[in-house]
């Protein structure tokens, strides 16, 4: 479990990126962290892993204080940054040097994930393309079987088939005792993968809700004309009229459109907060 209490963080003391942010992430969910560029998505992830320290407030990840960077803590969490690091080693060499630090590492799974992601053993890792390097690190991270997996823009640099394979793989390895936390601005890549959405903007937590909760409280549909403007959180002109996000007054069933959801929440944060408060 990840528990954030009144987190304040800023690269400069006087200009805080997060102020009094509180958040609770339970095991058994795949979280999607959405936010604009510079909203502080990577910063939040770095606070979770202990690469950055809160200015105020507390963070506890599986009962550990990330700031201490204790080995017992780092064994239970894996962070894949947007740009990955691979030394001039072969796949075998990397596995031999790095896997012993992760007690739950599974070699069989590792090779299976490499196979599923189509990563071929072609000599030194640093000579692979960026996408291949990223897929290699994803396979390694998944095989480490850590309780928490933090992914920062994991699909950046992946081609379309790889993105699909990535989604399939994440879905297949997920178990109820894990937290997978994916930060991205490529919202469509998370479609059908995440079961909880977190939206941050201007250092504020605007939404932390499950997909079920969102589809219960909001309705995503296309209408020919706009009416009840007060109830509409977001509208966008489309071929068939207007795609809208509105309060789900009539308990309609609709598929959550993450892109529209994000726009709705960031454009009308006060209304969105009021809807999700209850």
């Amino acid at each position: 479990m990840i528990e954030v209490q009144n987190l304040s963080f800023g690269y400069k003391r006087k200009k805080l990126l997060y102020k009094n942010l509180s958040l609770k992430l339970e095991a058994g969910s795949i979280y999607g962290l959405l936010g604009k560029n510079g909203a502080g998505k990577s910063t939040l992830l770095k606070n979770f892993i202990g690469l950055l320290f809160p200015k105020d407030g507390k963070i506890a990840v599986n009962g550990f204080d990330p700031k201490k960077r204790w080995p017992a803590f780092l064994e239970t969490i894996y962070f894949i940054p947007e740009e990955v690091y691979v030394p001039a080693l072969t796949i075998e060499g990397y596995k031999n040097l790095f896997s012993p630090f992760y007690p739950a590492f599974n070699e069989k799974q590792f090779y299976s994930y490499l196979d599923q992601l189509d990563v071929k053993d072609k000599g030194k890792l640093n000579s692979l393309s960026f996408g291949q390097q990223k897929k290699f690190i994803i396979a390694f991270a998944l095989a480490c079987n850590t309780k928490v997996l933090l992914l920062d823009e994991p699909t950046n640099g992946l081609d379309i088939p790889s993105k699909i394979k990535f989604r399939k793989l994440i879905a297949s390895i997920f178990t109820d005792d894990k937290i997978i936390f994916i930060s991205t601005h490529q919202i469509r890549d998370l479609d059908n993968l995440i079961d909880r959405v977190i939206i941050v903007d201007n250092g504020e937590l605007l939404l932390n809700a499950s997909i079920n909760d969102i589809s219960e409280k909001l309705c995503f549909k296309t209408v020919s004309e706009l009416s009840n403007l007060d109830e509409i959180l977001y509208s966008e002109e489309s071929l068939k009229g207007f795609s809208i996000v509105t309060k789900n007054i009539n308990t309609e069933d609709s598929k959550v459109n993450l892109e529209h959801l994000f726009n709705a929440i960031t454009e009308k944060p006060v209304l969105a907060k009021a809807i999700f408060k209850n």
């Binding site: 080995p71 780092l74 740009e83 630090f101 992760y102």
Partner: protein, 284 residues
Amino acid sequence: MRLRRNQCLQKQFLKTKKSVMNNTFNAKRFVLLFKKTLLEKPMQMFGFTGLIFLFILMLYYLMKTFATFQAAQNLSFLWGLVGGDFILASFVFNYFSSNASGSSYLTLPVSNFEKWLCGVVIAGILYPLVFLLFYRIMDAGFVAAYHNSLDPNGPFYNIRYDTVYIFPFDGRIPRLSYPMLLVFSGIMLMGSLYFNKVALVKVALFITILCFGIYGLNYLFASFMFENLDDAFPFQHVAILVGKEVGSVELPKNVHDPIWYFINWALPVILWGVALIRLQEKEF
């Protein structure tokens, strides 16, 4: 009831203590880290060590050919031990030049103390030992070659034979070099945690400015106090020209000794200690 509570508290305390200890140092984990550090960037670790040794070999050869054996021995020892270790120390924490490698290094499940200790072992123990071994073999080889080149029946054979001997590791230059090694590698380890990019160049520049700054300031103060100043070495002596002779004013022993004890022993401990604290507080 109270006894049982005390026992419970004691158990809890011991458990916490064990956990803290295990999260600070674990021999198995340390060995894994040490192995990873050496093998992860073999070209950097072994390649540069090889290059340094090659440079020292050439320096020794050139100096003995164009200057003297003593100059070759002193200079190659000082540069090989202190300079070589300084360069190698810059590789130990050389992960922060990119976001990816810095994150990977700091999130590796190893304690900050173990990461620091790995640097201490490589820069403070392993390299100096390997260098001393290399130096002894190289020096013995050159000295033996020189001795063999002499004609036993030639004039001054014994005198010429005795002027060149194997460099003792407890002489004046080595005794000066060992503390220098600890101070310079300490500065480099600390500096590579402060400067994320091109730390080696920045730290080398910093040391140069610092040394020249201290020397210049000392010279300036000495020139205010003494006329006919010839030379002034910080914390040691001031040389004054008296007619054609040079006289030396040395720091009193009761001032000189504590200062040099501080520079030789306390300063390295402080520098290496600050490197550990910096690593613990490193954000990336």
